[in-house]
């Protein structure tokens, strides 16, 4: 039974961080292409493995607040840009939206030679930051219970389970219209970015990690309010153009 505690504890804690990581990877992969996203994720894992082996428990001394601040700020800025573009496209009159979608589809096939550096960088940063947090969890639980191996098993199991779920839903995601997918990913990036950047600025969120759900809720409601305003504005402009 004593061996089960670090496995269960790290499984649960790593599941939360792993879900955040996989949400970013799946969102970016579905909108920008899987090849570049997976390459970025692989690069992130490689750096993470190198840091973990090289530093061991000294990993806990890394200034993770600075990494949270940098990654969070960049994700927030990117998330707001994607959200803005998605809202402007969704709010357009349907004829113009269909024309834009057709021209986008013509450019769609992900090049086998060129890397989409946006997808690569976002995936890399997401994996590095969340991976470091998972590594912290493993080192902390493992050191406290003197069972690092069990802690590693719990964390790896969590990643495999969440990765498996993500793999199963990726086909379903490809059926969602591209603007709405970009809208959802923009919301995710903006919410995560806000959460991490504020933590990096040493803010303590009320409710801890649960504040992320609150952030997602508020940002989603605001985005739909902005969409309603944009559509109203588009209808007014359309009526004026007919006069």
């Amino acid at each position: 039974m004593s061996g089960m505690f670090p496995i269960l504890a790290t499984f649960l804690a790593a599941s939360i961080e792993g879900t955040e990581m996989v949400a970013i990877l799946v969102g970016v992969g579905a909108t920008r292409g899987w090849r570049s996203t997976l390459l970025g994720a692989a690069a992130g894992f490689a750096i993470l493995a190198g840091l973990t082996f090289a530093l061991g428990t000294a990993l806990l001394n890394l200034p993770i607040e600075w990494l949270r601040l940098a990654v969070g700020a960049l994700l927030l800025i990117l998330g707001l840009q994607w959200l803005k573009k998605a809202l402007l496209r969704i709010a357009r009159p349907s004829a113009r939206r269909q024309a834009a979608a057709r021209s986008q589809m013509a450019l769609q096939p992900e090049s086998l030679k060129k890397i989409d550096w946006y997808a690569f960088v976002v995936a890399f940063k997401g994996v590095l930051l969340e991976g470091l947090e998972i590594a912290f969890i493993v080192v902390t639980f493992g050191a406290e219970t003197n069972q690092v191996g069990s802690a590693v098993i719990g964390a790896v199991t969590a990643l495999v389970v969440i990765g498996g779920i993500a793999f199963l839903i990726r086909g379903w995601l490809s059926r969602i219209p591209r603007e709405w997918l970009r809208f959802a990913v923009g919301l995710l990036l903006a919410a995560f970015g806000t959460f991490w950047a504020a933590e990096g600025a040493l803010v303590r969120w009320p409710g801890g990690d649960l504040a992320l759900l609150g952030l997602l809720g508020v940002m989603t409601a605001t985005a739909f309010a902005y969409l309603a305003l944009l559509r109203h504005n588009a209808r007014l402009n359309h009526k004026r153009s007919l006069i």
């Binding site: 601040l69 700020a73 960049l74 927030l76 800025i77 990117l78 707001l80 840009q81 959200l83 803005k84 809202l87 402007l88 550096w117 946006y118 960088v121 903006a190 806000t194 950047a197 504020a198 600025a201 040493l202 803010v203 303590r204 969120w205 009320p206 504040a211 952030l215 508020v218 940002m219 605001t222 985005a223 902005y226 944009l230 504005n233 402009n237």
Partner: protein
């Protein structure tokens, strides 16, 4: 030289995109959050408010330009 230019161009596009006000607003909001927290003032609300306001202003400017 070409690779350095491409690297810098990528990061400029990544951070600034087509609206520099988003990046600047968020940078200012983070700086103010940091300062408020150092002054022992609760500042968790500032960055979400800044993000929502920045998005609204950026959308309004884009809609006006169309």
């Amino acid at each position: 030289m070409r690779y350095i230019k491409a690297f810098l161009t990528f990061w400029y596009d990544f951070i600034v995109g087509d609206d520099w006000t988003i990046a600047v607003s968020i940078a200012v909001a983070i700086a103010v959050t940091f300062w408020l927290d150092k002054s022992k003032i609760q500042a968790w609300w500032l960055l979400p408010a800044a993000a929502i306001l920045t998005l609204g202003v950026s959308l309004w400017r884009a809609a006006q330009a169309e």
